[in-house]
């Protein structure tokens, strides 16, 4: 899921990253590990509008039993969850900080993600900022850029293939789940292909 309107960047290809950058910031094992342990995701820039990409992503994560924590300067509640004005206002542990804001703002969020002891700093599809990656990396966080957390979840739990998308996942092993139950807390580390 993109965030083209929020993200002031040129997106003309599958990815904004070079092959070397992809190997670091889009490594399949890093993505899978992150999806496997993430139980809380703070979403910076989560929209209040039901047809925005961030709202799709949040709805999806919530249905997978992941706690979503909206970060928004004005809203009160989004998707039934209490909203915090900044990352630093969140009183509970955050596993993943997921960004839906323009690339140039990302260094600020990276510093805040370090301050709140998040584990992974994840920039959505269409977003890339090396300075932010350096800040988050120096603070001990793993960094993922220019990928959609919903698409990646759908790629590895197998549901994205219901829509004919090329998941790139290829294995002769039997799947661990027949279908994804939408409201149970699925242990992704078990069911990832």
């Amino acid at each position: 899921m993109g965030s083209r309107s929020g993200a002031a960047c040129d997106l003309t290809s599958h990815s904004l990253l070079t092959a070397e950058q992809k190997a670091i910031y889009q490594a399949p094992d890093l993505v899978r590990r992150t999806l496997g342990f993430a139980s809380s995701v703070a979403i910076v820039g989560l929209s209040t509008k039901r047809q925005k990409a961030s709202y799709f992503v949040a709805t999806f994560l919530k249905s997978r039993g992941i706690k979503i924590i909206p970060v928004h300067p004005k809203a009160d509640r989004i998707l039934g969850e209490k909203v915090y004005p900044t990352l630093k206002d969140i009183p509970e542990p955050v596993d993943v900080v997921n960004i839906f804001r323009p690339s140039h703002e990302c260094p600020i969020y990276a510093a805040q993600a370090v301050d709140i002891n998040a584990k992974v700093f994840w920039l959505q599809l269409g977003l890339f900022n090396e300075e932010a990656a350096t800040i988050a990396g120096a603070g001990g966080l793993d960094v993922i850029m220019d990928l959609c957390i919903k698409m990646e979840y759908g790629r590895y739990d197998g549901t994205m293939r219901f829509l004919g998308m090329n998941t790139g996942v290829l294995t002769s092993k039997k799947a661990q789940i027949g279908r994804i139950s939408s409201h149970e807390d699925v242990d992704l580390s078990e069911c990832l292909l």
Binding site: Q51, K52, L163, G164, M165, A175, H183
Partner: protein, 430 residues
């Protein structure tokens, strides 16, 4: 040794057999099962609501998606290295769905004039009813392409290997021209197949197929498929970027990014036109894909041998096969189809009465089947002047790019010597 966790770039044949299908958790079924069902029970009312809102990836109704069809879609998308695919009821439907997804009344398309006749008819007559105008240009003439493009142009369109001329189109050059005009380049890759050419890797944005032909490969199923690269920037492309009134003002590119076009094609155009592929046909087309490279190597080998044989025959005026050094398209064929430019080509019969010679030639054949199709495992033949184009005078025929003695062959997988024997005895009989 790479770690098992590390992503490996699997080869074409491996993807032909495995991409798009993981043995399911309950039965472990190794072959792709045929999900012969119209609909799917929802997990819960809330899940159903999210599914209809496209916030979940899941099965809704077979007119929109189906697990067997999805396996076919992902497999062919993997073979052409696209972001995904949408299967359709036929090749004609693949074209129509692509255009109806991209275009609005008043828009224009610039297309190669070397197109399958049915495609040309669709573009001229059916598109006119939709308010869309198609302009046709000589595919080799880049000045003509440029001259035909104007502010209303929304797509460029060509076939990898056009017939009957056997013309190979310069895909990367055309893609650059398309991109500089904010248009996607659409390539009909039917005759080349995903094995012989991958248009998206040469810069095309959309590749489509009549899967009826070599993809299925056995002449038993009508089907089509659209594959998209995910690399076109639709942010200034009205139909994909703007809020869609037919999906609650959803902005497909903003919301789905690289999947924007494909999502719109599926949940709006295929939904509304009803042009879905049946799961049973999807299953048969998957069977075709599983042997695609092996079949195509043999199709090409037989085609090459026959083209060379015909070129040396005194009754033959010309052979329009880009695999031959004599073809003006040989260089382009080597660049875009290095393993061979397919197995469909035309040749011309000589003589005072070429139309009659064509008829006698067809009558004398024993192995080639006389019918209106290409891309079967069996060898096929047609003589346009006595069948599809019989009402036209010799002059009218030539004007539409077909001469009275023109024969089109689709070379199958039979024993090479048997095919040569059949052609030889028929050529002696005219």
């Amino acid at each position: 040794m790479s770690k098992p966790d590390q992503k490996r770039d699997f080869g074409f044949e491996t993807r032909m057999l495995h991409a798009g299908h993981v043995p399911d958790a309950v039965t472990g079924s190794r072959a792709v099962p045929i999900y012969q069902t119209t609909s799917y029970v929802f997990d819960s009312p809330q899940y159903a609501a999210e599914l209809f809102d496209l916030k979940q990836y899941g099965n809704i109704y077979t007119r929109i998606n189906n697990p067997t069809t999805a396996a076919f879609e992902e497999r062919i998308a993997s073979l052409e290295e696209g972001a995904g695919a949408v299967a359709t009821s036929s090749g004609m439907a693949a074209q129509l769905v692509t255009m109806m997804t991209l275009l609005e009344p008043g828009d224009e398309v610039v297309a190669s004039q070397h197109l399958y006749g049915g495609t040309r008819t669709q573009f001229v007559h059916t598109f006119r009813k939709l308010g869309v105008t198609a302009h046709f240009v000589d595919p080799d003439d880049f000045d003509a392409w440029e001259a035909a493009i104007n502010s209303k142009t929304r797509a460029l369109y060509a076939e990898t290997i056009g017939n009957p001329q056997g013309s190979v189109v310069d895909i990367s050059r055309l893609a650059a021209l398309a991109e500089s005009n904010n248009c996607p380049l659409i390539i009909d890759n039917t005759f080349a197949t995903p094995y012989l050419c991958q248009p998206l890797n040469h810069g095309a944005h959309i590749s489509l197929h009549s899967a009826t032909k070599f993809v299925g490969g056995h002449g038993n199923s009508i089907g089509g498929v659209i594959i998209e690269s995910g690399r076109f920037d639709y942010s200034h492309y009205p139909t994909i970027a703007n809020p869609s009134p037919s999906y609650h003002n959803l902005r497909f590119y903003d919301t789905f990014g690289l999947h924007g076009f494909l999502m719109k094609a599926r949940v709006e155009t295929v939904r509304d036109t009803g042009s879905c592929l049946s799961p049973f046909n999807a299953f048969l087309l998957i069977q075709g894909l599983e042997t695609l490279s092996i079949r195509m190597d043999r199709h090409v080998k037989n085609a090459m041998a026959i083209a060379r044989y015909l070129e040396d025959d005194p009754n033959v005026e010309y052979v329009a096969y880009p695999g031959l050094e004599s073809s003006p398209y040989h260089e382009l064929a080597l660049r875009y189809c290095p393993r061979g430019p397919g197995a469909v080509f035309s040749f011309g019969l000589r003589g005072a009465d070429p139309r009659g010679a064509g008829r006698r030639f067809i009558e004398a054949l024993n192995l080639f089947s006389h019918l209106a199709n290409v891309g079967d495992a069996r060898s096929l033949v047609i003589h346009p002047a006595s069948t599809t184009h019989q009402q036209l005078s010799d002059e009218e025929l030539v004007a539409s790019g077909i001469d009275p003695g023109m024969i089109r062959l689709s070379i199958g997988l039979e024993t090479e010597e048997d095919l040569l024997w059949d052609l030889d005895q028929a050529l002696r009989a005219i």
